[in-house]
């Protein structure tokens, strides 16, 4: 028999059992597209988390004041007091002898205020810090000037404002530089506009107002010795861990405690990045496993359909053998059928998978991993061919009369 004859017989076999064929294709399609989509989602969320963390800057430490009590265990009942981050800490950390790997330290006071300009108002977070804050947090200016340390010393009421604040307070095209806005009821002059960093998902870094911490303390939060956090910029991301231990020793000394009992949280961006990377790769593996299971379930579905129709097909094989089909001819027919069905199912699955990954899923833009296509398609074809051929081979080995009697 020619290839064309085999092909025609296979096509006839497929179209003659439309429901069975459709279910087989569907099982493979779902499995294949699930693998492609889920792996792409895992992949995409890994990439986006990495991007976000890279945006945060990978060579900073954040020392957070958690409001815990410090100075070690109370000597007598009255000496315990809240641990604070003070200007002394900042000076110590900026001292190159004590902390050679620290480039800059920016103390931060923060609050939330309603910013108003004319009739427009917008609720924003206000960050009071020093000049080094902008570079430590990777802010750049799209226009105007950054706040300076001189303005910090002089308690100037000047602000750099984020792009979101600009768009909510000012008319399009209006230049905010030099304008005066109110934070709460206090007037601040806009000296610079920050370039957009894009939403990081965690916090909106474009909805921010940055002012000298002295002015913020004077006008908004009230004077306090203490800062809510310190942003410590390391000299490089490779020496960030050294900088971290230097900062820890300084804080342990000033708070009269050990490093292990520090009353502050220190967030190391570099280690955050690697943790996040491993978390998201765990996510990808997990999603991949779910997808693999769905492919397996699809495969079992295919197997089921093939086995369920074995009665009908066994009789058919009996008839074919009775009128002279050889075992080889029957196997070739079923191989053709199985290959065709699984190619169709696999190809449709890849198609649907590619379409499915075009859409954002829960804010994540899926990124297709080529290996997942090859793997899913390959597994689908192997499953289809194996479970298509296995029952056929059994039936084709029967004597015609036994195959005809089978039910």
């Amino acid at each position: 028999m020619s290839w064309a004859d085999n092909f025609i017989i296979a096509i006839r076999g497929i179209t003659a059992n439309k429901v069975r064929s459709a279910l087989t294709v569907l099982g493979l399609l779902i499995g294949v597209s699930a693998v492609i989509i889920l792996v792409a989602v895992g992949n995409g969320s890994s990439l986006s988390v990495e991007q976000r963390i890279n945006q945060l800057g990978s060579n900073t430490l954040t020392v957070l004041n958690t409001g815990r009590f410090g100075r070690g265990p109370a000597v007598s009942g009255t000496q315990t007091q809240e641990a604070t981050l003070t200007m002394t800490d900042v000076k110590d950390m900026e001292n190159p002898n004590e902390a050679p790997d620290v480039k800059s330290v920016s103390p931060v006071v923060s609050t939330s205020e309603t910013a108003t300009y004319g009739s427009a108002s917008y609720s924003t977070s206000v960050i009071g810090s020093t000049a080094s804050y902008l570079s430590a947090e990777d802010y750049t200016l799209s226009s105007g000037n950054p706040i300076t340390n001189q303005e910090v010393t002089s308690h100037s009421r000047v602000v750099d404002i984020g792009s979101e604040v600009v768009s909510n307070l000012f008319d399009p095209g209006q230049n905010p530089i030099g304008q005066t806005i109110q934070l709460g009821s206090v007037n601040f002059q806009v000296v610079g506009v920050l370039a957009s960093k894009g939403s990081s998902g965690l916090t909106n870094e474009d909805s921010v107002v940055i002012a000298p911490y002295t002015a913020v303390q004077d006008e908004l939060t009230g004077y306090s010795q203490s800062f809510s956090e310190l942003i410590v910029q390391g000299k490089s991301s490779s020496t960030l861990n050294l900088a971290e231990s230097e900062v820890e020793s300084i804080l342990a000394a000033t708070n009269n405690t050990t490093i292990a009992n520090l009353p502050f949280n220190i967030i190391n961006q570099a280690s955050l990045l690697s943790t996040a990377k491993s978390t998201t790769s765990t996510l990808t593996v997990l999603l991949g496993a779910v997808a693999a299971i769905s492919l397996l379930v699809g495969g079992i579905g295919v197997m089921n359909i093939m086995l369920v129709t074995v009665t009908e097909r066994t009789r058919e094989i009996g008839i074919r053998k009775a009128i002279g089909a050889s075992k080889a001819a029957i196997l070739v027919q079923f191989l053709f059928e199985a290959v065709l069905l699984s190619l169709i199912g696999g190809a449709l699955g890849v198609g649907i998978g590619m379409i499915g990954t075009v859409f954002r899923i829960d804010g994540v833009r899926p990124v297709v991993a080529p290996y997942s296509i090859i793997l899913a398609f390959g597994v689908a074809v192997v499953i289809g061919v194996f479970f298509g051929l296995y029952p056929a081979n059994r039936a084709a080995s029967l004597r015609p009369i036994d195959a005809l009697r089978y039910d």
Partner: protein, 295 residues
């Protein structure tokens, strides 16, 4: 009680005197749970080429089982079966497929059409497995279907046909390959008399051309088309009567009733196909794929 008693010595060519089918002491046992049921209890018969035999017997006497063994669809539990002088036990699965495909045409008692293929596709199928080209395949299948009066139902599905119509399609499928041996298990069981007569006339004409025909029937007047009646009872041959010699024309051949009678039926079924005998197993037809030498 064997056929040789009543058989006149064949006066024809030496080739045709050699029996085409020899069964010796065929036994068939089925296991029903743990009980062995012996369905055939020593069947022996010899069929010469060109013979036209009717097998008769009560229901359950083992007629179909015997036919399946002759048709190489089943194997005996014990005993010997020589087809064209070759012990079928020595043949491979592959050889048996070729024999079923080219040498033997089989009409099943229960038709056994493939339910999801059209009438035409069903009848074409044996030719497909022979590797016949599409165009010729179609022509021959249509010819066979018109010979059984079914050419008006080409694209119907078997389930859309009456029992009698399915039977005629099954007959068409058996004769489409122009086989040298035609085995028919109650081929007229579901047919009204005029259609039975047509189907029997096809068999008679094929037999008149020298093809061997064996059919199973319950009806005496169908059996009268044959030259010989073999009666089976409880898995044994109890009577074997010959009414005409092997090389005689079939008794009820009605060539005149056919519009196309000027051409032999085999020519109408298949132009230029193989000769009726020695189709597969004889060394003098090397074009066929199985020969004794290859064994």
């Amino acid at each position: 009680m064997t056929s040789t008693l009543t058989e006149p010595k064949a006066a024809k060519a030496a080739k045709s005197s050699k029996p085409v089918i020899v069964l010796r002491n065929i036994r068939k046992t089925y296991m029903m749970g743990h009980v062995a049921v012996e369905v055939l209890r020593g069947i022996s018969m010899t069929i010469d080429p060109g013979d036209f035999a009717a097998i008769m017997g009560a229901s359950g006497s083992g007629k179909s089982t015997t036919m399946h063994i002759i048709g190489c669809l089943d194997v005996p539990s014990r005993g010997y079966y020589w087809l064209d002088g070759i012990d079928v036990r020595s043949l491979t699965d592959e050889d048996l497929s070729k024999i079923r495909n080219r040498k033997i045409g089989f009409v099943f008692q229960s038709f056994n059409l493939i339910p999801r293929l059209s009438v035409l596709a069903n009848v074409e199928l044996p030719l497909t497995y022979q590797g016949v080209k599409k165009q010729e395949r179609r022509e021959r299948a249509v010819a066979a279907l018109s010979a059984t009066g079914m050419s008006h139902r080409l694209i119907h599905m078997p389930t859309e046909l009456s029992g009698g119509e399915q039977q005629r399609v099954a007959v068409a499928r058996a004769v489409v390959t122009n086989p040298s041996i035609l085995l028919a298990d109650e081929p007229t069981g579901n047919l009204p008399s005029h259609q039975s007569a047509e189907v029997m006339n096809i068999f008679s004409q094929l037999n008149a051309e020298g093809r061997t025909v064996i059919l199973v029937t319950h009806e005496e007047d169908i059996a009268e088309h044959a030259k010989r009646i073999i009666r089976i009872q409880d898995g044994m041959v109890v009577r074997d009567t010959r009414s005409l010699p092997v090389d005689a024309l079939p008794p009820r051949l009605d060539a005149s009733s056919k519009k196309t009678a000027s051409r032999p039926i085999s020519a109408r079924l298949a132009d230029g196909s193989s000769p009726p005998h020695g189709l597969l197993l004889n060394t003098d037809t090397p074009s066929e794929s199985i020969s004794r030498d290859s064994k």
